[in-house]
């Protein structure tokens, strides 16, 4: 009887604390959203004012208010959609080829020591070559054609996914492999599909996500050399000093990459739904 009032007090004060901290959380979140919106608005305002006040000519820095018009005209003449779809097709082809080759070779190298030793020096020579340094050969081998862009994109993707897969396979818990042995899965392919591949998936996906961003940058770079797509259209506009159109395509790239990354993250978290 004596202690029951004090117990009640404890429970009550705990409940109050909970409410307060929840309210505090909401306030913090609202505040930070408000601050972010304020920051963006400020950025757009300054951007608008700098050419608006005549500090720099609008051709050098087009104001944001000029962009919707430029965007609409690019859509109306059909160039926007065709450039975007061409770029996406280069992107997807390059990404798929680079990832499939990189991940497969990374897995085999991770599983089979002699292969790693065999490739060690070849990798050391080829790996440091930047993707763009392949442009001359891409043009020589494939011409100014989508295949050249796909080749440049997939080269960069290849190395990222190769090292991610190699590392992920190496990092698989030896004890899980012993488990496969103990339960009669002694062939290499059984171990690969029952244990190694699923265990390495999180690490491989981290590499693929990095490759996703890298490949998008490579798209622009590859197309600047003339393969039709967003990069090429951007260079055309730039040569004509149509800087508002350049900004439209910069924004398009940012939006497309954002969408691709969000889709990937959704797929990734579905694949890794077993993780806490």
């Amino acid at each position: 009887m004596v202690c029951s009032p004090s117990r009640f007090t404890i429970a009550q004060s705990r409940a109050t604390n909970g409410n307060e901290s929840r309210t505090a959380d909401t306030v913090t979140r609202t505040k930070s959203v408000a601050l972010s919106a304020f920051g963006l608005a400020g950025f757009l305002l300054i951007w608008e004012l700098v050419p608006g006040l005549g500090l720099v000519p609008a051709t050098i820095l087009p104001p944001p208010s000029a962009l919707p018009g430029a965007f609409l005209s690019e859509i109306r003449n059909g160039i926007w959609l065709s450039a975007l779809s061409r770029s996406l097709s280069h992107y997807l082809a390059g990404l798929t080829i680079g990832c499939v080759l990189g991940v497969s070779l990374g897995i085999f190298t991770g599983l089979w020591m002699p292969l790693e030793a065999t490739l060690a020096w070849v990798v050391r020579i080829l790996r440091p070559i930047p993707g763009l340094a392949w442009v001359p050969f891409a043009i020589l081998w494939f011409g100014i054609a989508p295949a050249a862009a796909i080749f440049i994109i997939s080269t960069g993707v290849f190395w990222i996914s190769y090292f991610a897969a190699l590392g992920a396979v190496r990092a698989v818990d030896r004890e899980l492999i012993e488990l496969a042995d103990a339960f009669g899965f002694r062939r290499a392919d059984q171990k690969l599909f029952k244990v190694i591949l699923p265990a390495a998936t999180p690490g491989i996906l981290v590499g693929v996500r990095t490759a996703l961003g890298q490949a998008w940058m490579a798209v622009v770079a590859a197309e600047i050399f003339g393969v039709p797509g967003l990069g090429q259209r951007m260079m055309q506009a730039s040569n004509l000093l149509a800087s508002d159109i350049v900004v439209v395509y910069m924004a398009t790239m940012a939006a497309a990459y954002g969408a691709i990354d969000s889709i990937f993250v959704a797929v990734q978290s579905w694949l890794l739904r077993w993780k806490r």
Binding site: E175, L176, A182, F183, G184, F185, K194, L272, W274, K275
Partner: protein, 250 residues
């Protein structure tokens, strides 16, 4: 009685960084069918190594292992429970329990129903759809036990399976193992460094001591299950085993 597991003159030497460590020498041991045999010894004596030799995970340098099992490509005859649960984190509980059933021609429905039955046997009915990270340590170890039982093995090898658990969970699982052994009549080799655990569950205790390890004592325990912990009938035996472990020369 014909031995289910016959170890004859087993010797095993590990080589690491050029140094050789002789773990087992001249170890001869016969384990009869249907018995729960505890292999008791201090940490690092080579108990787990012995278990891996029986499982065929390690090949001995000398001697032979003969298992009285009917080899079947479509079914496992020997299953193992490790000290850590070693569940596959990407598989749900039922799928972990069904892991050893993925040999041969069982349909996925058959695998699932066998896995569910094994989970029920270890008291985990209703946990099928969980992922391992959603379980407690004791529950995970139960899933590992269910995974071994699901294949209906002739021999069950257990490598200090309860050592990492808290005392209450451990005692509960010991009782359950004794019950499962009584119900299924499987041959079980149970490695432990706990005298109390060995005496509580086993029909026979083999003491492994020395370096290289030798079987220095073998004790049969006739006390019926379920046994009472710390009972007078086993106190003498516990004392004898303790003495045997402390004075390996005897």
């Amino acid at each position: 009685m014909e031995a289910m597991i016959d170890l004859d003159n087993i010797g095993l030497t590990f080589t690491r960084d050029g140094t050789e460590t002789e773990v087992l020498r001249g170890l001869t041991l016969a384990i009869p069918a249907g018995r729960l045999v505890a292999v008791l010894g201090p940490s690092g004596v080579g108990k787990s190594t012995l278990l891996r030799v029986i499982a065929g995970l390690l090949a001995p340098n000398t001697g032979s292992v003969t298992l009285d099992i009917t080899p079947d490509r479509n079914k496992l005859s020997v299953a193992m429970v490790f000290q850590d649960a070693r569940l596959l984190p990407w598989r749900k509980v039922w799928s972990n329990a069904a892991f050893g059933l993925e040999h041969g021609q069982l349909s996925s429905a058959e695998r699932r129903s066998k896995a569910e039955a094994a989970l029920a046997l270890v008291g985990l009915a209703g946990f099928s759809e969980r992922y391992p990270h959603e379980l407690s340590g004791g529950q995970r170890q139960r899933v590992a036990l269910a995974r071994a039982l699901a294949v209906d093995p002739e021999i069950l090898l257990m490598d200090e399976p309860f050592a990492a658990l808290d005392a209450i969970t451990r005692e509960g699982l010991q009782d359950e193992l004794a019950r499962i052994h009584a119900a299924t009549g499987k041959t079980i080799v149970f490695v432990t460094h706990s005298i109390d655990e060995a005496v509580h569950i086993a029909n026979e205790v083999v003491v492994l001591t020395g370096r290289p390890a030798q079987a220095t004592a073998k004790v049969t325990i006739d006390a019926p299950q379920p046994r009472r912990r710390g009972g007078a009938d086993t106190a003498d035996l516990v004392a004898r085993l303790r003495a045997g472990l402390l004075e390996p020369a005897s």
